[in-house]
Symmetry: C2
């Protein structure tokens, strides 16, 4: 076999292992009986260790080095470039550090879980110190140009730097704070009695399925199931699995949850299956992934146009519960702005402030301005400053997210990037698809899905996130269009 | 790390990979969307290749060789002995042959599937020649004492030889043929109209769950799902998964299917979880596994004692459908003897003749008395001889089973061994648990489950199959008790 075939076999093997692990993780959240957890952890650890061992093997490094001296076609260049990126990041981190991180976060997760239940920050604080200290060490191994924190941003959003995030977020924060105040002042205090009625789960599922099918989800290549924390998982474009959770007395949770995850799923289903097992059939970054879910959830499904078609269908599905409900009221409710404590429950506007807060705290730790154990106090100060509310207990404050306990640092900013990209993409879609909104008002969603597939999904890891944004919209990532969108929607 | 710790890590890794693959296979049959098949095949092939590579690695061989010279405690001896068995079998087969077999059976499966649909034996015949020729080559690699066929028997039932099977089956056949004739003559021709009524699937499931829960299935460590071909899979005692299929107009299919698979599942759940990842927490052979499913399905759940408790509950579940049904009639129906064409639909008596036929054909090929391509004719001759019926088309004859297309040779005999062991175990259980049948009449099944766990399940691969039978019953495997059981049930 020639060098490239030998290389490709190894690349395929890495992807097959990773997608196999993804199915096992999906099973863990949706199907696995309770007592199966310990065995599953061992299976996943074994596969993940083999993946790391194969990715960092000297033989793989040699094949990469040899191919980098050869002249390759465009596709092959991408595969070599992206695998080289994965390889070089992986070899920089010593096995000892990988193991210490795995062990620490496994224990920290348990401590966090109990600490959150008892709203006891003090118990978790030393673990935060330990985790952030390991993350700093990891960043030093990975290397960076300007800021230590860059290493982690680049891990989740290739090419992203602290300076770039600072610029984007500074502008966004400045615009958001007054916008939130004005929008919140306009929200009426009327009770939404209809929302607390009983919405049978089976009908919630049926209505949600109608919408995501219209979005273009292919159930021959996907599934919908239930899990406590909704997610999109699976194994490439032919097997994409989304989950949701149902609340009988608040159907908006499952409704927007399903649409959000279906946005992720359309991205996965839109990858080119013929490249399965290579970076050409892999998603480019968390920010781009999130842009797809946010675009469908917010730009599309929280718009008045969308509900012109779907509101009568909602009323058909739940005639008793929504008998006296008007479209205008429904639109008002699903776009209600409220400064609140919990990120995952936040509206389109304040959500970004929750993220900016987390970014600024992470950066402050990485720049040695605060200790991780001081996050409790620092959190409350920033909440007061940006959201004018302070949690009365840590469970509703610094302990609310699992990310830090899991060792995910530099991850939060991708959520806001997703919002920025979504606004930028959606603006462009409206320029290029002249009757886009008219179609949405008629319940026709396929032109948008086709455009996203053509412009974004099918490219896999061919372009960097910012390169892709520029290629699609003609300009680099910017906060401008997101701010315009928010002002247009919430400013008047 | 010392030699044993290094060795144990590798053993664990092999088991974690294998159980991970088992979950992926279960998912393939129950959950995977249709288009996911190609990706799944690649994931499973990758994991299976890594498993083979690690099992046959020279380093693993060295560790084994070193440990075999050391004095070890009883548990450790078993782990080393059983892994040595797996290792030596695996290294004997050249990679080239493994690959050729995998490729051939993958293609042959498709050919068989189409051939069966069109009842076209001629298309499949050359594939049978190819497969049996590869299986002979494999047997020569594995080595054998007397008969080439021994190699495959030993693969599925360690220690089993052609001579042993011949002796057991000759005696069984001789007794069965007249017994079947007499029993069949006694079966009345009355229509079972009640059986063809509509039995809602959800109630079938509910009733079946009641029974298997009473048998002792732990749903915290297991699941029940639907698949076209029922099976018991999963990942060790903490995560056992059974499937069934439902026919609205024949609830006996799901009922006895569930009990059968639950028998398998109790074996898996009865393994010692603390040894997970070693042969001490693995099942000993296919024959022993099948004995557990048959014992519950036939000895217990096709007995009159069992239905004394459950028949009134069946009538409560399906009051309309079974209003005029009497317990005696129900017992008669679930034990109806009929010489028929299809193995999986056969009764307790004739089932064994279907297997003996397959064993004799496989042996004849391995002893060069017939070619595999002659199986069509040979099949029909033996059907006439043993079951006095001849299939009018190959789909109902030689093409009915998937085993040969999948390269499973020497596998069928373990089904009858399961029957023999089941009868031998159950006789012993009745000796040792004095009020066993009285308990069963009262719907109390836990003493039997506890006895099976204590005597059989918890031992893992500590004893050979025949060694285990002798340890539990005081005598080596024999057909006597099975014949006695059949004569007692069907002879009078």
């Amino acid at each position: 076999m020639d060098t490239y075939s030998l290389f490709l076999n190894r690349v395929n093997e890495l992807y097959y292992l990773r997608t196999a692990a993804n199915i096992l993780s999906w099973d863990q959240e949706t199907m696995m009986p309770a007592k199966g957890a310990a065995a599953r952890a061992k299976q996943l650890a074994t596969i993940s260790a083999l993946h790391h061992e194969h990715l960092t093997s000297p033989r793989f490094g040699d094949l990469l080095a040899e191919l980098q001296t050869k002249s390759l076609n465009a596709d092959t260049q991408v595969i070599v470039r992206e695998m080289a990126r994965d390889y070089h990041r992986a070899v920089k981190i010593p096995t000892r550090l990988v193991e210490e991180m795995t062990e620490t976060t496994a224990l920290a997760y348990e401590v966090w879980n109990r600490a959150r239940q008892q709203s006891d920050f003090a118990t978790f604080a030393p673990w935060l110190d330990k985790i952030f200290s390991l993350k700093k060490e990891e960043a030093r191994c990975l290397g960076f140009e300007k800021s230590l924190y860059d290493a982690h941003l680049d891990d989740h959003e290739p090419g992203l730097t602290t300076t770039m995030v600072e610029l984007l977020f500074a502008r966004l924060r400045q615009q958001l704070v007054p916008l939130v105040e004005r929008a919140e002042a306009r929200v009426d205090k009327k009770e939404d009695g209809w929302l607390c009625a009983s919405y049978p789960l089976v009908l919630q599922e049926q209505f949600g399925r109608q919408i995501v099918e219209t979005m273009g989800i292919d159930w021959q290549a996907g599934r919908l199931d239930v899990s406590p924390h909704p997610f999109c998982g699976g194994a490439g474009p032919s097997d994409v699995r989304i989950t949701t959770r149902y609340k009988e007395n608040d159907f908006l949770v499952s409704l927007f949850g399903m649409i959000h995850e279906a946005g992720h799923a359309l991205y996965e289903q839109g990858l080119e299956g013929e490249y399965f097992g290579t970076p050409l059939c892999d998603t480019v970054s968390l920010g781009i992934h999130e842009s797809q879910s946010r675009l469908w959830e917010n730009q599309v499904a929280r718009s008045a146009d969308f509900w012109e078609f779907w509101f009568p269908r909602l009323q058909q599905t739940f005639p008793e519960q929504t008998r006296n409900l008007k479209l205008e009221r429904f639109y008002h409710t699903i776009n209600r702005v409220r400064r609140s404590l919990i990120r995952v429950d936040a509206d389109e506007l304040t959500y970004n402030l929750h993220i900016i807060l987390r970014f600024e705290l992470e950066r402050a730790i990485f720049e040695d301005q605060i200790f991780a154990r001081d996050l409790g106090t620092a959190w409350n100060e920033k909440m007061k400053q940006y959201l004018n509310t302070v949690p009365s207990q840590a469970a509703e404050g610094v302990l609310q997210d699992v990310h830090w306990a899991s060792g995910l640092v530099g991850y939060f900013p991708t959520y806001v990037l997703g919002n920025l990209y979504a606004a930028q993409f959606y603006r462009q879609a409206n320029i290029e698809i002249s009757d886009l909104k008219e179609n949405i008002r008629k319940g026709v969603l396929s032109p948008l899905r086709a455009w996203l597939r053509e412009k974004i999904h099918r490219h896999g890891r061919r372009y960097s996130a910012s390169g892709l944004v520029e290629r699609v919209t003609g300009e680099p990532p910017t906060a401008d269009h997101f701010i315009d969108y928010l002002k247009g929607k919430f400013g008047s």
